[in-house]
């Protein structure tokens, strides 16, 4: 089997969202001497790109996206130790801390965003729902984040997005991070009014915007 055959197999296994198929393809590629980072860059990530496009085009939905992400994560349990051995750790696109603001218990949009970040090459740290504003900031410091992405679905919780930005300003750290806001109750005008670095109507747009902000 040529390297190109291995890459096709890896890509297709991710597109099929089949964890067993992914693990078999990863093991076969490694056995034939392909480096772990190359397996990711030329096999798995192209598959995840297709998954992302299919999700955007409504050919697949959140369950399939999650299945593909789980298969990728399973592959990474094999590949990460190899990457350390090889000393070939590559560049991430960026590091993101995300969550839903304090008082808001909505999770689906934020969960989709997390998956799209991960499948697009970002390191994503999901703080969950009902997140205290200082948790955003502390986590961003801890992981040296590039972006803080804050979701709010309710009109009464919108102010939580402004609070994070205000707290960053008070701490003198506003310029250290790009802050993106989104969620059902938000608008571009709201984002501008609170001084956010960006607003996205959809998770896919948020990832595209994030890519441009960190590049």
């Amino acid at each position: 089997m040529t390297d190109a055959d291995h890459f096709d197999k890896l890509k297709q296994a991710i597109i099929d969202q089949d964890e067993d198929e992914v693990l078999d393809a990863v093991n076969a590629a490694l056995a034939d001497g392909i480096g772990a980072k190359t397996v990711i860059d030329q096999g798995l990530l192209p598959g995840l790109n297709v998954i992302g496009e299919q999700f955007e085009d409504e050919e697949i939905f959140l369950p399939e996206l999650m299945q593909a992400a789980l298969a990728f994560q399973a592959a990474m349990t094999i590949l990460e130790p190899k990457i350390k051995e090889e000393g070939t750790a590559g560049e991430k696109k960026g590091v993101v801390v995300l969550g839903t603001v304090k008082g808001d218990l909505h999770s689906i949009g934020k969960n989709i965003l997390k998956l799209l970040y991960e499948t697009s090459g970002f390191e994503a740290h999901d703080l969950g729902i009902d997140v205290d504003l200082f948790s955003f900031i502390n986590k961003a410091k801890e992981v040296d984040a590039d972006i803080i992405a804050i979701s709010a679905l309710l009109t009464t919780t919108l102010v939580g997005q402004r609070d994070v930005i205000d707290a960053l300003k008070d701490a003198g750290e506003r310029d250290r991070y790009k802050v993106l806001v989104g969620g059902g109750a938000t608008t571009r005008e709201w984002a501008e009014s609170i001084g956010a670095d960006g607003w996205a109507a959809t998770a896919y747009e948020a990832v595209t915007l994030s890519t441009s902000l960190v590049s």
């Binding site: 959140l62 999650m66 789980l70 009464t156 919780t157």
Partner: protein
């Protein structure tokens, strides 16, 4: 039917599971299984289904979904399980009517069967859109309540106190919720219809404490109004919802079980949304003891409900419940077009033709995805109620070709909808008469176009 305490106990005694595992190992695979088992399939062309066998298959799939996946309580990390027998008894014993209002405004909303053309459906108007100003708020409510075809209203939100927006869970939110219902009741009183019910209680309350506070009778809401209790995420029954269930059942108030299954989310596409929406209506009675259901499926990216697969799924869920359960339903549309735009009217007409002929009652809805402040323009809602009443005279088969003609008029605009008007841009703020000629013209033209398509919409 199993009693309420037993329902609450199910959240304490079911199998332990993480939320991710609930979705990936129970809800998602079970949803796929029941869709395949019952051969639920959208043909991608139809807007309004007329196949009763398919409709009944959706209902059976929904019953199986509840029996096999259960609901999830995030506070206890347990699955709330219900047997097929328990679910079927809840369906059989579901209310067929919900009585709202006081005095001469006291009426009953009934569950409707698809293709019923000789009844007069319940007419509900309004929405919980944010309002910037107390005067605009009162005028909006007064004007909507004054339309004589209206049986109940959804009132907007007003969140600010002394010029500041109130924050979720704050004491100000409790005051804002109380203010909302006081203003709303006063607006209704000014319309001359003091007993008219508010059935979206309470739009400014995001937490049980605010809802309970604003339910104090002196503030204006009564058990004969309607109180919304929602499923938070797909099949999630949280403690906050169960607290509201406990309280509103304790004061014997009308409960509007509310659900927003997301197209593109865990429910997947059209088939998954149809089955999940139907399951929510069944659980609305089984778990929440609802008197009526607020059905509000949404597109996860576009944040609206007027795509072709969503309209199909929403209508299908109405037909499934209408044929098999008879639970009273209204459907809350989130539309893309702004107030007063032709796009908004086309979307609403297509939506009404689908849901009202399929067994839903009439409910006008949100323009501009419900995010434009002051965008509740009462005459839009009167027109849309008139469209709903006209649609109620048609069968699904008669409505489908009209819906097919309407969809191309707005389908391509859903990703970038037409911007609309605000209350202040339509009305003279002193006389409350329409002064925007373009607004009136667009409505008149759409009324003519609808007549040309075969839907005569008389002026009420």
């Amino acid at each position: 039917m199993i009693d309420l305490i037993e329902v609450f106990d199910r959240a304490e005694t079911g199998p332990l599971i993480s939320e991710t595992d609930y979705y990936m190992k129970r809800y998602v695979p079970k949803l796929s299984e029941v869709i395949a088992r019952h051969k639920v399939k959208w043909d991608k062309q139809t807007i309004i289904n007329t196949d009763d066998a398919l409709t009944d298959a959706v209902f059976e799939a929904a019953v199986d979904l509840i029996a096999e996946a259960g609901a999830y309580c995030p506070e206890t990390n347990r699955v709330m399980q219900f047997s097929r027998d328990e679910i079927e008894v809840a369906c059989a014993q579901a209310p067929r009517g919900a009585t709202f209002g006081e005095g001469r405004e006291r009426k009953t909303m009934y569950g409707r069967r698809p293709d019923t053309t000789d009844d007069r459906p319940w007419v509900h108007v309004g929405g919980g859109i944010y309002t910037s100003d107390e005067q605009v708020y009162m005028d909006t409510v007064e004007k909507m309540a004054s339309f004589n075809i209206v049986d109940s209203v959804s009132v907007p939100s007003i969140l600010h106190l002394r010029g500041k927006d109130s924050r979720v869970r704050s004491p100000q939110e409790i005051l804002a919720a109380c203010k909302t219902v006081r203003l709303a009741r006063e607006g209704i009183r000014r319309s001359g219809r003091a007993g008219l019910p508010i059935i979206n209680g309470i739009s400014a309350a995001s937490q049980p404490a605010s809802m309970f506070a604003a339910s104090y009778p002196d503030f204006g809401l009564r058990p004969s109004d309607g109180f919304l209790i929602d499923f938070l995420s797909e099949m999630v029954v949280g403690y906050e919802a169960l607290q509201k269930v406990a309280f509103y059942n304790s004061i014997s108030a009308n409960i509007g079980s509310t659900s927003t299954p997301l197209f593109g989310g865990y429910a997947g596409g059209a088939e998954g949304v149809a089955v999940t929406a139907t399951a929510y209506m069944i659980m609305g009675n089984l778990v929440f003891r609802g008197s009526y259901h607020y059905n509000a499926p949404l597109h996860s990216k576009l944040h609206l409900s007027s795509t072709k697969p969503l309209i199909w799924a929403i209508a299908m869920s109405n037909a499934a419940i209408g044929r098999n359960m008879g639970y009273p339903m209204v459907n809350l549309p989130y539309l893309g077009g702004g107030s007063g735009t032709k796009q908004y009217h086309y979307e609403m007409a297509c939506y009404m033709l689908a849901v009202v002929t399929s067994g839903g009652n009439v409910f006008s809805g949100h323009p501009a995805m419900a995010v434009q402040t002051d965008s509740l323009v009462p005459d839009d809602h009167r027109f849309h109620a008139e469209i709903g009443l006209a649609a109620a005279k048609l069968t699904r088969a008669e409505a489908e070709p009209i819906a097919q003609k309407l969809f191309p008029l707005f389908g391509d605009k859903l990703k970038d909808p037409d911007k609309g008007l605000t209350f202040q841009e339509v009305y003279d703020m002193r006389t409350k008469q329409i002064v925007n000629a373009e607004y009136r013209k667009a409505m008149d033209e759409v009324r003519e176009e609808l007549a040309g398509m075969g839907l005569e919409v008389p002026v009420s």
